[in-house]
């Protein structure tokens, strides 16, 4: 099979116009179309979760209650958290960008199980709709962590949100399973393990976490549903059950889930940096290994969420120590990235700006994480705004910045069009400034003792909250400018060409937008993905 099949003439020449009509999209098995469907759907939920965030900040503009009751406020922060975690950040990079890019990076025609891929999209939709339908019922007020025993007794519609998250978990598991098998079985000839792009390594590690951790969340949520409907009592102290057991189960999933959110972002960063520095990545193997180091450690640190739960002192100390170990592989990565950029010929396009944003924000988020891992400090800061600021620096800084960088980086590949550079940079600037203005004051107000999850606060915290709320508006402007610019670029952007950035990974070695089965020839790989040396090429065409 040394020659490629000629593209069928009755079809369009790329995946977008390959077959016409909305029905051909809704029933598609093409990983690229499924990726784009995920992208649009997730963006809708991102908007919804963002509206709740703006509502929270608006209420907190002044002390006292202005716009909502305590109950409404509880619902706002619960929806904000649950939507952003389960419907946005977890699927964001793997299911949207990863679905599109992963098979192309491997030189494959599709993921291993295209039908399951489409199925996972629809179960995501079902779960997300079921969970959001509670907006029109009694809402949900438990916080996204659903801590027992309150979540057992809450008279809200928590059961449906739990079932929704349970269902979305299967979507996540299926995506992870599909990616693992794809990476194992569908690599192009010559694409050995030590030639895999780092984004692929990141998705691999993420998939392993998805496959290993999500089932534990699934059974936990199911038990909680049975707790609410049948009163099985396993987590219910009134019936002799153990509410802290729920916390262990929940964080056994949800700490690794932080890395489901962050590792793909790190993978995006690892792609953008060498391309925009025109240099081979520094420490390829170290970064790939660190990815797995982080994934491994992520499974044994969940107890740091239970320092104040009555867990034994010894367990606290062990969890505290292991948590600090996460800093080592993370440091290895940051060092590799910075060393790659050092003396590189940097091109300051929007993707690289987001990389800088990522490095700045993520470093603060990571360091405050080490800070919080210290038991004495954690006990003092638990349930204050310091924790809120910390995990927003990690999750928004780590994931959203990397996502926006990746979105601009691959936009020409997705659409065949170039985005407009200047408005994109303006958008990036507003996102960066808005993010820091929103969340930095929360570190301070947290140290000063402002607790999370309250609609009201003491008057001395007013100035910090005002700054934070204004920041949230700047951030919103950044997102709106970015979305508007990309939308406009879809319509009137310049033709991008196959490889506008001069990337060496396989997805750039085909047309933009790619043809139906990705490549019009069978790619054969002869070198690593970041070999920017003279005129050497990564790819040999199998003629």
């Amino acid at each position: 099979m040394s020659h490629a099949a000629a593209p069928a003439v009755q079809h369009g020449d790329n995946y977008i116009n390959h077959t016409p009509g909305i029905k051909s999209w809704l029933g598609t098995l093409d990983h690229k179309r499924i990726g784009m469907m995920y992208l649009f759907t997730i963006m809708i939920f991102f908007l919804l979760g963002g509206i709740f965030a703006l509502g929270i900040r608006l209420e907190l503009f002044s002390p006292g209650l202005q716009y909502m009751t305590q109950d409404t406020y509880n619902r706002f922060f619960t929806y904000h958290g649950a939507i952003m975690v389960f419907m946005v950040i977890i699927p964001l990079i793997p299911a949207a960008i990863g679905n599109f890019v992963l098979p192309m990076m491997l030189g494959a025609k599709d993921v291993a199980f295209p039908r399951w891929n489409l199925f996972s999209y629809y179960i995501y939709i079902c779960g997300a709709l079921l969970a959001s339908s509670t907006l029109f019922l009694k809402g949900v007020d438990t916080g996204w962590t659903f801590y027992t025993p309150y979540s057992i007794r809450s008279s809200s519609s928590a059961t449906y949100v739990l079932l929704g998250a349970f269902i979305m978990g299967f979507s996540s598991i299926l995506t992870g399973l599909n990616f693992i098998v794809t990476i194992h079985k569908l690599r192009a000839p010559g694409l050995h393990w030590d030639r895999l792009p780092l984004f692929v390594w990141a998705l691999y590690a993420t998939s392993v976490i998805q496959v290993l951790a999500t089932p534990v969340l699934a059974i936990t949520l199911l038990l909680l549903v049975l707790e609410r409907t049948l009163g099985i009592g396993i987590f219910d102290p009134k019936l002799g059950g153990d509410p802290v057991l729920f916390q262990h189960f929940f964080w056994f999933y949800s700490h690794p889930a932080v890395y489901i959110m962050v590792l793909p972002g790190m993978g995006v960063i690892s792609e953008i940096i060498p391309v925009f520095s025109r240099k081979p990545i520094f420490g390829y193997k170290a970064i790939a290994a660190a990815t797995f180091g982080i994934a491994l450690v992520s499974f044994i640190v969940w107890g740091h969420h239970l320092f104040v739960s009555g867990q034994s002192e010894f367990a606290n100390m062990v969890f505290s120590l292991i948590t600090m170990f996460v800093a080592i592989p993370t440091g290895v990565k940051v060092f590799g990235w910075v060393a790659t950029m050092y003396k590189g010929s940097l091109r300051f396009n929007t993707p690289l700006l987001y990389v800088f944003g990522f490095l700045f924000v993520f470093t603060i988020g990571g360091l405050t994480g080490v800070f919080l891992a210290t038991i004495a400090i954690d006990v003092h800061l638990t349930d204050t705004y310091f924790v809120i600021a910390h995990f927003h620096y990690v999750m928004v800084g780590g994931t959203i910045m990397a996502f926006l960088g990746g979105l601009h980086y691959w936009f020409p590949k997705f659409s065949g069009k170039m985005y407009h550079e200047t408005p994109a940079k303006i958008g990036a600037f507003f996102v960066m400034v808005g993010f820091n203005v929103t969340f930095f004051p929360q570190f301070i107000v947290g140290v000063l003792g402002m607790p999370r999850r309250y609609a009201d606060y003491l008057p001395q915290f007013t100035v910090y909250n005002r700054i934070s709320t204004i920041g949230s508006w700047i951030l919103a402007v950044g997102f709106i400018v970015t979305a508007w610019n990309l939308w406009r670029s879809l319509k009137n952007g310049e033709k991008a060409g196959d490889n506008p950035w001069g990337g060496l990974t396989l997805e750039w070695q085909t047309a933009s937008p790619p043809p139906f089965e990705n490549f019009l020839y069978d790619p054969v790989v002869t070198e690593g993905p970041y070999e920017y040396r003279g005129d050497k090429v990564y790819l040999g065409k199998n003629a």
Binding site: L177, I180, T214, P215, V216, I219, L223, G231, I232, E517
Partner: protein, 220 residues
């Protein structure tokens, strides 16, 4: 690229999905996918096993008292039934691989009947418990056992065996689907992927029961 590399177990002309190079590659991918799925299943059940372990470590006497309400003979009968079905499933796979489809269909029917038998036994056990009021957690109204937290043992019992039973029902549906496809002549030495990976699933369902039986029925 040649398709006649060493190690190909499937006929080269066998139809396969467009994104695989060979039918053999497709078979490997499906099998690996099923193995990973079974890993997720192990972790899914592991949550229940941990809940069980926590209960047992802190309430050994209660577990001992409560488990006497279960009928170990019924449990043992079901263990025998499921092990038999695992055996017939394995034989069905090898018959398919050898091309003896008539025999494979018969063996799949035996597997299906065993699974049905398992559920019937389970039905009688459940019905008896429901009748006595031996129910999970808050539903409990059985008067004769006055020991704290006994209802929690039955919460764990019903959730574990209930989820396992659900797996049996799903397995039965898949086995029936295999029988239909086998009768249409879709399987043979050139293509037996669905039979083989359903076999893996069925052995897993059997294995879970082999853990559940001593843990629930034979607490000592």
């Amino acid at each position: 690229m040649s398709q006649s590399e060493a190690g190909v177990v499937l006929a080269a002309d066998r139809h396969h999905a467009h994104h695989f190079n060979t039918a053999n590659e497709e078979f490997d991918a499906c099998k690996q996918g099923m193995w990973i799925f079974l890993v997720t299943e192990v972790l899914f059940f592991s949550g229940l096993f941990v809940a069980y372990a926590v209960l047992r470590v802190f309430n050994p006497e209660m577990m001992h008292e409560a488990h006497h309400l279960l009928n170990w003979k019924m449990g043992a009968l079901n263990t025998v039934i499921l092990i038999t079905s695992s055996l017939t499933m394995a034989l069905a796979v090898s018959s398919t691989q050898r091309g003896n489809i008539d025999k494979a269909v018969k063996l799949l029917w035996v597997t299906l009947i065993c699974a049905g038998g398992f559920l019937i036994v389970k039905y009688f056990e459940y019905a008896h418990k429901f009748h006595e009021g031996i129910l999970p957690g808050a539903q409990w109204h059985y008067e004769e056992l006055k020991i704290a937290k006994a209802p929690l043992f039955f919460s764990v019992y019903f959730v574990m065996t209930g989820i396992h039973g659900l797996h049996v029902i799903i397995g039965m549906a898949i086995i029936y689907w295999l029988i239909r496809r086998a009768k249409r002549g879709e399987f043979g030495p050139a293509y037996f992927t669905p039979v083989e990976i359903t076999g893996l699933y069925w052995h897993f369902v059997d294995l879970v029961w082999i853990f559940l039986f001593p843990l629930l029925y034979l607490v000592s």
